[in-house]
């Protein structure tokens, strides 16, 4: 398989124990961010016409220039679709430069897989007459609600002033699914019920059998829950049905052993569900659960210290109401008698 490597290649970090499965063992190291304005972002052509940039396996912040999400573009015979644009406008510009270096074709679609800042703040670099922005039907509401806090974080942490008008909202809202024709290549887009977030969208390219799972799949990087744990567990079962032979996660290296990559994350999510459910049923408080529910056995995850407690928090708030069958007003609490 031809692998075209563009840009700096810093091999610092082997994928621990996953090297065989990992398409590009040093993938995590390709997160070098542009040093000059509009220098092309490092990308690799993992399948013909499928270009991927792997972000750093780190939290979105100034230390990595906001370059933490995986970004991609797919080239058809007529035009290009970009999948996520990066955590700052500069990353978006560098990605645009990488597209221009790979192909003279225009970018006809920018697909946003969900409204988290590391995936969308580069949108502004692609704004233009010929480009349509595509996202889940729930995306615009989610981005609008969070926009002030994203802009604040850019100013506070990155020293970047971005006007609200520089956030680009979708022209095309996907309710359930749609197809985008790039010329001899038709991408299949699917919007999901609440899972990682309430506005997740995945892209499948049947021509190369590549699944762009967005943040419905994390590899090496601990999954981060900002939606519904039960919804995410359900989505994992459906993702196993996609006939992909390559999966590009939202964070972490691409994998050809698609089912194994999905299964590793399922082990974490299933374990989290069981442990938090037990904590709720055992009468723990939220704070106690956050302190006591450990990382489930299975794959080892990077950034666990940053995300696991947060996942427990979100899961707890979701699950503490799950078996509520009591009627409303005036009800006597079940099992309350001493």
């Amino acid at each position: 398989m031809p692998h075209r490597h563009a840009g700096a290649h810093r091999a610092t970090h082997a994928a621990r124990g996953l090297a065989a499965a990992c398409l590009v063992a040093c993938a995590t190291a390709l997160a070098a961010h542009a040093t000059a304005p509009d220098a092309p972002l490092p990308v690799q052509e993992l399948r013909p016409g499928v270009f991927v940039h792997l972000g750093a396996i780190e939290d979105w912040g100034p230390a990595n220039g906001g370059d933490v999400a995986n970004l991609a573009f797919v080239v058809g015979s007529r035009c290009v679709a970009v999948i996520d644009t990066g955590g700052t406008p500069a990353i978006g510009r560098a990605l645009r430069a990488a597209v221009a270096r790979a192909t003279p074709l225009p970018v006809c679609y920018v697909i946003n897989t969900h409204a988290h800042p590391d995936h969308v703040l580069g949108n502004v670099a692609f704004r233009g007459e010929a480009t349509r922005f595509v996202a889940s039907a729930r995306f615009a509401r989610a981005l609008a609600a969070r926009a002030p806090s994203y802009l604040n974080a850019l100013a506070r942490d990155f020293g970047l002033r971005l006007a609200p008008a520089e956030l680009v909202y979708p022209d095309v809202a996907v309710e359930r699914s749609t197809e985008l024709d790039l010329g001899q290549r038709v991408l299949e887009l699917r919007a999901w019920p609440t899972a990682h977030t309430d506005n997740d969208l995945t892209v499948y390219d049947p021509a190369s059998r590549t699944l762009f799972a967005s943040d419905l799949l994390f590899v090496q990087h601990m999954p981060a829950l900002d939606g519904s744990l039960r919804g995410w567990v359900a989505a994992m079962a459906e993702l196993q049905q996609v006939p992909a032979t390559l999966v590009v996660p939202g964070h972490g290296p691409a994998r050809e052993d698609v089912r194994a990559a999905l299964a590793e994350q399922s082990t974490y999510l299933d374990g989290l569900l069981r442990a938090v459910r037990a904590a709720v049923q055992g009468g723990l408080t939220l704070s106690q659960a956050v302190d006591r529910v450990g990382v489930p056995d299975g794959a080892s995850w990077l950034l666990a210290e940053r995300f696991h407690r947060r996942n427990v928090t979100a899961a707890f708030a979701e699950l503490e109401w799950e078996d509520d069958t009591a009627p409303a007003t005036g009800a006597r609490a079940p099992g309350a008698k001493p």
Partner: protein, 284 residues
């Protein structure tokens, strides 16, 4: 261009919501960096709020008999657990009558005012709040001798107030007002018991914009909570949308023979809900 109109509406919402408790200082400017952890007395929102609430009365730093427990960094800014812990202490000087919970850099900084009744037993309290910016959090206790004491914390969190309420608005509406009240058995007969109250309510801030209409939904939140045991006050509170979606409270109740523990809430649309359970004398 509709942006100016929606910005205007946003201010209206802030004003309407702030009026629910106390229209203190205006919300912090979105572009101004929040005050850092140094010199908490000098923070402008706090200075204004302090005068509005307490005038020139002295506020002493709380001793270790009153602790504010917060995460250093919020795991989720929309659900930040906050606990006030007291040391079991017979000193009447440390009997807490009311407790003010202040989040300096929130759009509406006064999150809650709790009052403890004779059936409380202990002024410990735990709830969950939204936090919009890196901020100081304050618990100011007024003791029965009229003195004020403040426990102070700092938490790194952002965006909690504008987090969209409810993943499924229709489902949230269907369960609106559902309440769960539970009481743990006393550690020893006659001792104060931990009660937990959960309320299904969006408790929305009105700060999450509907991108389609470009309007802000009106705030909808629980504004008052009253808990009684056989009609005697345990805990009452004036609340604000800074309390997280599906408001949650843990507090103490001092048992008193067979008696009904009752919790009632009123929201800012004057919707009223209640729940109750029987507490039985130990051993029955």
């Amino acid at each position: 261009m509709m942006q100016p109109r929606s910005l205007h509406r946003r201010r209206d919402c802030l004003r309407a919501a702030g009026a629910a408790l106390l229209l203190a200082a205006g919300g912090p400017s979105l572009s101004a960096p929040p005050a850092g952890p140094d010199n908490p007395d000098a923070i402008p929102t706090w200075q204004k709020l302090r005068v509005a609430l307490f005038q020139q009365r002295p506020i002493a730093p709380a001793g270790d008999w009153l602790r504010l427990v917060l995460p250093v960094r919020a795991e989720d800014a929309a659900i930040v657990p906050v606990a006030v812990e007291t040391r079991p202490d017979s000193s009447p000087a440390h009997a807490i009558e009311s407790l003010y919970l202040v989040i300096d850099n929130n759009p509406s900084p006064l999150a809650a005012v709790f009052r403890f009744g004779p059936r409380s037993g202990r002024a410990d309290l735990e709830t969950r709040v939204r936090i919009d910016e890196y901020t100081h959090v304050r618990a100011i206790a007024q003791t029965r001798d009229g003195q004020l004491h403040m426990a102070l914390g700092y938490v790194k969190a952002s965006g909690g107030c504008s987090a969209p309420p409810g993943k499924d608005a229709q489902a949230a509406q269907a369960t609106l007002g559902r309440m769960r009240l539970q009481v743990q058995p006393p550690p020893q007969p006659g001792a104060a018991q931990v009660a937990q109250l959960m309320i299904s309510h969006p408790n929305s801030s009105g700060l999450a914009m509907d991108q389609v209409s470009r309007l802000y939904a009106p705030p909808h939140f629980v504004r008052q909570l009253t808990v009684t045991l056989a009609g005697e006050p345990v805990l009452s509170a004036d609340l604000d949308f800074a309390i997280s979606e599906n408001p949650h409270f843990r507090f103490y109740v001092q048992p008193h023979g067979d008696a009904e523990l009752k919790a009632e809430i009123v929201d800012n649309e004057d919707l009223k809900f209640h729940t109750a359970l029987m507490l039985r004398a130990s051993g029955s």
